[in-house]
């Protein structure tokens, strides 16, 4: 009886490992393609991207297995830096939100934004991904002053993010994630 259970478990385990060996490269390829197209949407000027992560205030190449949040340096055909894409993550309404945002070379302006991963409430919170007036906030967001979230219709300065009615928690979460990421990433970008 025990032998049967152990044998069956081993068999199932082996089967899964085999399936994993087959599917892992396909999945990884798809993930990379998806990331790449998201990067291009956030920073269209760049032709290639160099991937970095942060360690002790320095930019270092990421470890292969690392789960650290990454910084992508956008380069044009001549290898000139044209901007940065920052990966950031934080708590959403229920599940974590993971997003990308693009910066110009000096880190003065935020000019691209894309949600990579979120499970915000369909119809309400998920408008952070596609609501045109919310996304318009991130076409040219001034970073020379601290960014702030304001109520819909109250945006007066280019450093303010206008929230979405009915998605207060989710728009707050996005603003908060960007604020936190900027605090740690801007000094690196400006170096």
């Amino acid at each position: 009886m025990v032998a049967l259970l152990v044998g069956l478990t081993t068999l199932c385990g082996l089967l899964l490992l085999l399936a994993h060996a087959w599917s892992a490269p396909i999945i990884q390829q798809k993930q990379e393609a998806a990331l790449r197209s998201a990067l291009v949407r956030v920073l269209p000027q760049a032709k290639t991207f160099a991937t970095w992560t942060e360690q002790g205030g320095q930019l270092v190449p990421p470890l292969a297995t690392g789960k650290d949040l990454r910084l992508f340096e956008g380069l044009d055909n001549q290898g000139q830096r044209v901007g940065w894409v920052i990966e950031a993550q934080g708590a959403g309404y229920q599940e974590p939100i993971r997003l990308l945002f693009g910066l110009d070379v000096q880190g003065q302006q935020l000019n691209g934004f894309e949600v990579l991963d979120s499970k915000e409430t369909p119809g309400l919170g998920d408008r952070i991904e596609k609501d045109p007036s919310f996304l318009a906030n991130f076409k040219a967001l001034d970073l020379s002053q601290p960014i702030r979230l304001v109520k819909p219709g109250h945006k007066t300065k280019p450093s303010q993010i206008e929230g979405i009615t009915g998605a207060t928690v989710s728009s707050q979460a996005v603003a908060h994630i960007i604020q936190r990421a900027l605090a740690s990433r801007l000094p690196l970008v400006k170096q």
């Binding site: 049967l4 069956l8 599917s23 991963d117 119809g123």
Partner: protein
Amino acid sequence: MKEPTAQESFRQGLWTKNPVLVQLLGMCPVLAVSNSVANALAMGLATSFVLVASALMVSWIRHWVPPSVRIAVFILIIATFVSLAEMLIQAVSLEVHKALGPFISLIVVNCIILGQAESFASKHPPLPSVIDAFSRGSGFTLAILAMGAIRELLGKGSLLGYNVLGEHFLPWVVFLLPGGGFFVLGFLLMLYHRYQREAR
């Protein structure tokens, strides 16, 4: 034991003994991933795949499994097929995988599958077991698709992402929220009972 005919199996699985509407099994995914037709369809297909594959497996080994450990063996087989299904979904479409999230893994504890293994597949030869599993899977898919269609149509005004009700339709967002799931399923159950009663 007498084997039911294929036609009988289908009629029971799809309608008279529908696993969701009559047996009230597998309610978690029916409520949780039915906020759009695409998600509902993916969930229905994935569950049916696991259901059929585990039924075949359980039926094959039914003579070698001692009764005292049968539940453990069934769960192990089901968990293996769910893991396979998850890899398959991820390899085919990252989007679908993202939308269903942890609910793919939770197919393991969908009572329809364990119930089918225990009450049918472990007592019948492979072919009838697979037919029975397939009809129950279709019944589940039918129910979750009905939920998905109603919720997406009223909550977003679209079906499968295509706008159906036009620009001027004001979506009833409540149908996409968890509460809406409960309401729609309750409503479907009432409709079903009403139909059954009139048929009688």
